[in-house]
Symmetry: C2
Subunit: 331 residues, 2 copies
């Protein structure tokens, strides 16, 4: 996995590349495409697999009573035409979900943890201490025994809506503990869009200075319009793995009604377009990706907030429409 912050083995050579992790099948569908059939989800994931994406979060092994999208995780994973160059990820909220996931051919488990004890209790239903000392070791151990990798979401890494700012030292301490436990990829999640480029840089700098053998990724929410600016800042500091979601699709499991709007993820097509414009290789075919956006909008039955499908790449030359060949402001 190309990542300049992973002990820097081949970091220099891959300085101008980045990896995008597509989260829309897991994070976007439940909210946007209500009542989608398993076959439609599989078709979409297979189409995504053709774009050059290297990692796709595709299913949630959650109890259907709590997160309804969990009902077809096994059927969905068994139906995907897996490509060897793509890592397929499934969310496991707890031991039961983990057991369900491990009998499928999913490559990687996604495990949740929050840097804020309050948020952890609300979102996961356990104290941070219990998640960290009991749940996580069990899941990491089970994954290792079955030869699956684990990515850990460190939620509210940039701030908690209920308790406010989270200090970089707290996040660093958690990251150290996760490193001791053998975690290989940790995602700094800006759960409610509280990050700004300055504080994001400060946190990332503090974490990279630990020089841990952990892949560090970022997952920004565009709640306050700052997600892409934060991605650019994170790249500047050395982050090379970015979570994004086609069209900006996003689920909002926090249920805070007053925050329910604007929880959009970084639209995959927008971040691919932006970083490629800056000479950074994503390895993704933008045109194929835009075909997936068209499919997603069809499934959602409405336009999604990503920009590039309609604005089209900045490099494209627009033909001058005939009615504009007449001057306009002249009088």
């Amino acid at each position: 996995m190309p990542n300049a912050n992973a002990a820097g083995k081949s970091a220099r050579k891959k300085e101008n590349t980045m990896t995008i992790v597509e989260v829309s099948p897991r994070d976007g569908f439940p909210e946007i495409c209500n009542g989608l059939s398993t076959e439609d989800k599989i078709h979409y994931i297979n189409k995504l697999s053709e774009t050059g994406l290297k990692k796709i979060e595709c299913a949630s092994f959650t109890h259907p009573r709590l997160l309804p999208e969990g009902y077809d995780a096994e059927k969905l994973v068994s139906g995907i035409a897996k490509k060897p160059e793509v890592t397929y990820v499934g969310l496991v909220p707890n031991e039961i979900g983990c057991r369900r996931a491990l009998v499928t051919k999913i490559d990687e488990l996604l495990v949740l943890l929050s840097a804020s004890d309050t948020f952890n209790r609300i979102n996961i239903g356990k104290s941070l201490r219990e998640s960290l000392n009991k749940v996580l070791p069990t899941l990491l151990d089970a994954a290792a025994r079955h030869g699956r990798s684990v990515r850990i979401y460190l939620m509210t890494a940039f701030g908690c809506p209920y308790t406010g700012r989270v200090r970089p030292e707290e996040v660093a301490e958690l990251l150290l503990k996760l490193s001791y436990m053998g975690a290989s990829e940790v995602v700094l999640v800006d759960s409610t869009g509280m990050a700004d480029p300055k504080s994001a840089k400060e946190l990332i700098r503090a974490l990279l200075e630990l020089k841990l053998d952990i892949q560090l990724a970022v997952h920004f929410h565009n709640t306050r319009g700052t997600a892409l600016a934060n991605c650019v800042a994170a790249y500047d500091e050395g982050i090379r793995i970015f979570d994004a979601s086609l069209g900006g699709m996003s689920n909002t499991p926090y249920g805070v009604s007053e925050l329910d709007i604007g929880y959009w993820n970084v639209p995959t097509e927008d971040i691919v377009h932006l970083f490629e414009a800056m000479g950074i290789q994503t390895g993704i075919d933008l045109e194929k990706l835009l075909d997936c956006v068209r499919l997603a909008e069809k499934m959602a039955g409405k336009p999604l907030p990503g920009h590039i499908l309609r604005a089209r790449p900045a490099t494209r030359i627009t033909e001058i429409p005939r009615h504009l060949k007449e001057p306009r402001l002249l009088d």
Copy 2:
């Protein structure tokens, strides 16, 4: 006017401040709030004047046949309760508009020019050469005789949709010419949202290296979702004047139907929130600004794309709703 790039007089002292130029009454109303009365516009501008904004583009002295919003410019300007600390700006497309503006109490004239000859011909109806050598000197001269300042929009400074990339050397040459003519403020306008943080930095660096006695401002469009990221990049390079529009309101005079979506300006409330979060003082009262967004949405009859009105500042602590005190993902 605080600006770190203006010959650096008091630049060091004001390093952590920035000036925001509000463009919504000129750039947003015509498209968003169809059929707004002059009294409503005046009420809105007066309310904006109370927020701490130092410069407001409030009227267009255009021929109503070509840009209908020009019909009430004189009445509008005479009706504003002008505050001495605010600079009120009016667009003048040509000599006739300039004569109209100069008999009002408008403080500053806004003049258009494009870095691309093709775009200049389409948007202004003159060759770049004619605009530069005939129109501009006349307008600058008239403004000086009447004691009014001039801000010049250098459109397509970051790229032209019809001819592609504009080289920094071309923009630098134009800026030099504008400097010789006595222009005091030049706005680098990303007319169709083609800029990215890397190319924006390169252009701004090249221009600031000229060390001209010109205030340099930026005006980014969010066509491709990159406007705020570009603003952060521009600030990093030394820009201290940023155009923004309440709620993101924007007019799209280019009339290119396929580009008609997504021409939103940088929402003023979003950029104020972001830069204040990074410790940069805008001098603007965010709560008063959000009151103006509420008024604007009421006038527009629909929600505007700015984020902060609904997401609210990141610093605000959310109370835990009762139904969330029960755990969620646990099963």
